[in-house]
């Protein structure tokens, strides 16, 4: 049988949402290959939320437990996943191209001696072969790539594979992992000041550029983000990150993060080519800029010309009313 292994993620003992996208992508592959989806999550004990994996199409959920697996343990995780792939004879292995997946997937692929098709935005099966689409040059071009090695190891770009309900049995099993967790030890996660939502995973991203004039004015964007009730993250252009106004992790563009939210606000951003590359796969783009000829308006679905210091507070108020 051509089974697919979906590698899920937990943080603090709770399944991360991106895991549902992984199960959805794995289900799509398994249906085309005629096999089951087995979802694997590595943890120190029970994981909250795994029952939802059945709803999104996992035939079985395997929780692999180890005292050292509460935090991400790169070496122990890689060994455990690779061993599971070998013993289960999987045809394909699916990861999220999240911070953890970008670290773990290459290790697992190298251990298995097969390539990794990373950060893919589409995956199909044609004549038994897995074929992926990957944005390159930050989305300025798309590569269609055939995986000619087995198993096919892929990582999925967050926010692209919208979770689809495909209920399956979703039975759970727990296996204890023996051996060492590894030499690289994660001591903990220091929370970022801006909250837990990352620009790469947020359904709504509100980015600001030099038009904000000074770092303190990003408060306007943070207020707007809050009005969306925890669904929005604040991003930034390269210019303001290089100027030290915002942390590097918030940068959207070719030398920052490539994002695909359902709604993207570009506020006071002119639209340099390297920024456009990073956000052009957003489903809907709104631009607010005082210069009606700014390049950002060429990619925006909706543009508002004018003073952002008037427009943004009005927008925040209106969104706040809408949400309440």
């Amino acid at each position: 049988m051509s089974h697919v292994l979906a590698v899920l993620e937990q943080r603090d003992g709770a399944l991360r949402k991106v895991s549902h996208e992984v199960v959805t992508g794995a289900r799509r592959l398994a249906d085309a290959l005629g096999g089951e989806v087995h979802a694997l999550v590595l943890a120190a004990g029970a994981v909250q939320g795994t029952e939802a994996s059945g709803r999104y199409g996992a035939d079985k959920v395997i929780v692999a437990t180890h005292a050292g697996f509460g935090q991400y343990a790169p070496e122990g995780y890689a060994r455990t996943v690779a061993e599971r792939v070998r013993s289960g004879g999987y045809t394909a292995v699916v990861f999220a191209a999240s911070a953890q997946g970008k670290d773990l997937a290459p290790r697992v692929a190298a251990r298995l001696g097969v390539p990794l098709a990373a950060d893919v935005t589409d995956v199909v099966v044609d004549g038994g072969a897995v074929i992926v689409t990957r944005p390159v040059y930050a989305g300025k071009a798309l590569l269609k790539v055939k995986v000619t090695a087995a198993p096919a190891v892929v990582s999925l770009r967050p926010n692209v594979f919208t979770p689809v309900e495909r209920p399956k049995a979703g039975g759970a099993e727990t296996v204890a992992v023996s051996g060492d967790a590894g030499r690289v030890v994660v001591k903990g996660i220091k929370a970022a000041a801006g909250g837990s939502l990352d620009v790469a995973e947020a359904p709504i991203v509100i980015s600001g550029g030099r038009g904000l004039k000074e770092p303190a004015n990003f408060k306007l964007l943070e207020d707007l983000a809050r009005a969306f009730g925890g669904k929005a993250a604040v991003g930034a252009s390269r210019a303001v990150v290089d100027a030290g106004w915002r942390p590097h992790g918030d940068q959207v563009g070719q030398t920052g993060k490539t994002v695909s939210p359902s709604l993207y606000f570009a506020i006071g951003i002119s639209g340099a080519i390297q920024h456009l590359a990073g956000m052009r796969t957003a489903k809907v783009i709104v631009a607010i800029n005082k210069d009606k000829d700014a390049p950002i308006f060429k990619v925006a679905d909706y543009g508002v010309v004018g003073d952002l210091f008037e427009i943004v507070p009005a927008l925040t108020e209106a969104i706040g009313k809408l949400q309440s």
Binding site: A110, A118, K140, A149, K187
Partner: protein
């Protein structure tokens, strides 16, 4: 400290991508090539670590075409001691093939640290560093934004969603660098002159078979034309109505 830095020659981030006649690759005509921006942080970190240790060697490796020699020279001008080019006409799409070639070269080098940029801004593969670590069975931390090394042990912070993961690891190790780790230096004229005389070895890359086959490169789908909703705060109600009723995202 003996440090290796693996770098890549990439198209500049301002490049307008035109697809070559083969329909599978970038048309390089008129394209400016640069040292991959994330690799600059790796080179800078290596130079600072060597300076701090008061001795050692910084070796820069690249896997790429003849033209990558120029990119290696840039790092020698920054202050690296010598370069090695693992030459191949084209860098394969399969990062594991590249990792194998680099690992074979690094294997017996006796390096305390092997540094990479966290990813290349051309192929976005984000994988060669940790793959080399696995092939060499070395500890590895990716996307390092802060780094401390004391007595053969390291602590690092790596960016994850909503925070910084605090990581401990022993040396020797493979690290990949994130923007913000340091401020890369510009090559000074003196460095540029000195770089011309520094050793740069060129040998064929032992890539082996690749397991990814590029079928096509295409431009991204065009976004449909947008429109200006209006001017100033007065346009906000119309914008909200469009987002709710037309785009259906609210």
């Amino acid at each position: 400290m003996k440090i290796a830095v693996c770098i890549k020659r990439v198209a500049d981030s301002e490049t307008r991508v035109k697809i070559a006649a083969d329909g599978k690759s970038l048309d390089e005509a008129g394209v400016k090539f640069i040292l991959n921006p994330y690799d600059e942080f790796a080179v800078e970190e290596a130079l600072q670590r060597k300076e701090k240790a008061g001795g050692g060697e910084v070796v820069v490796l690249a896997c790429g075409s003849q033209a990558s020699q120029e990119t290696i020279r840039t790092t020698l001008a920054m202050g690296a001691d010598r370069g090695v080019l693992l030459e191949t006409a084209a860098v394969p799409a399969d990062g594991l093939a590249v990792a194998r070639a680099l690992a074979a070269e690094l294997k017996d080098g006796g390096f305390d640290l092997i540094l990479f940029g966290k990813m290349a801004i051309d192929d976005y593969n984000h994988q060669v560093g940790p793959m080399v670590a696995e092939l060499l069975e070395l500890p590895c931390v990716t996307c390092v934004a802060h780094l401390n090394l004391v007595d053969g042990k390291g602590t690092a912070e790596r960016e994850v969603e909503g925070g910084m993961e605090e990581v401990e690891f022993p040396l020797p190790a493979v690290l990949t660098t994130e923007k913000g780790l340091n401020e890369p230096r510009y090559p000074a004229l003196k460095g540029i002159m000195a770089a011309k005389k520094k050793p740069l070895e060129v040998k064929p890359a032992a890539l082996g078979a690749a397991g990814l086959e590029i079928l096509a490169m295409t431009p991204p789908p065009d976004r449909k034309d947008g429109r200006i909703v209006g001017e100033g705060a007065a346009a906000v109600p119309a914008l909200l109505q469009l987002l709710r009723e037309e785009a259906k995202v609210l």
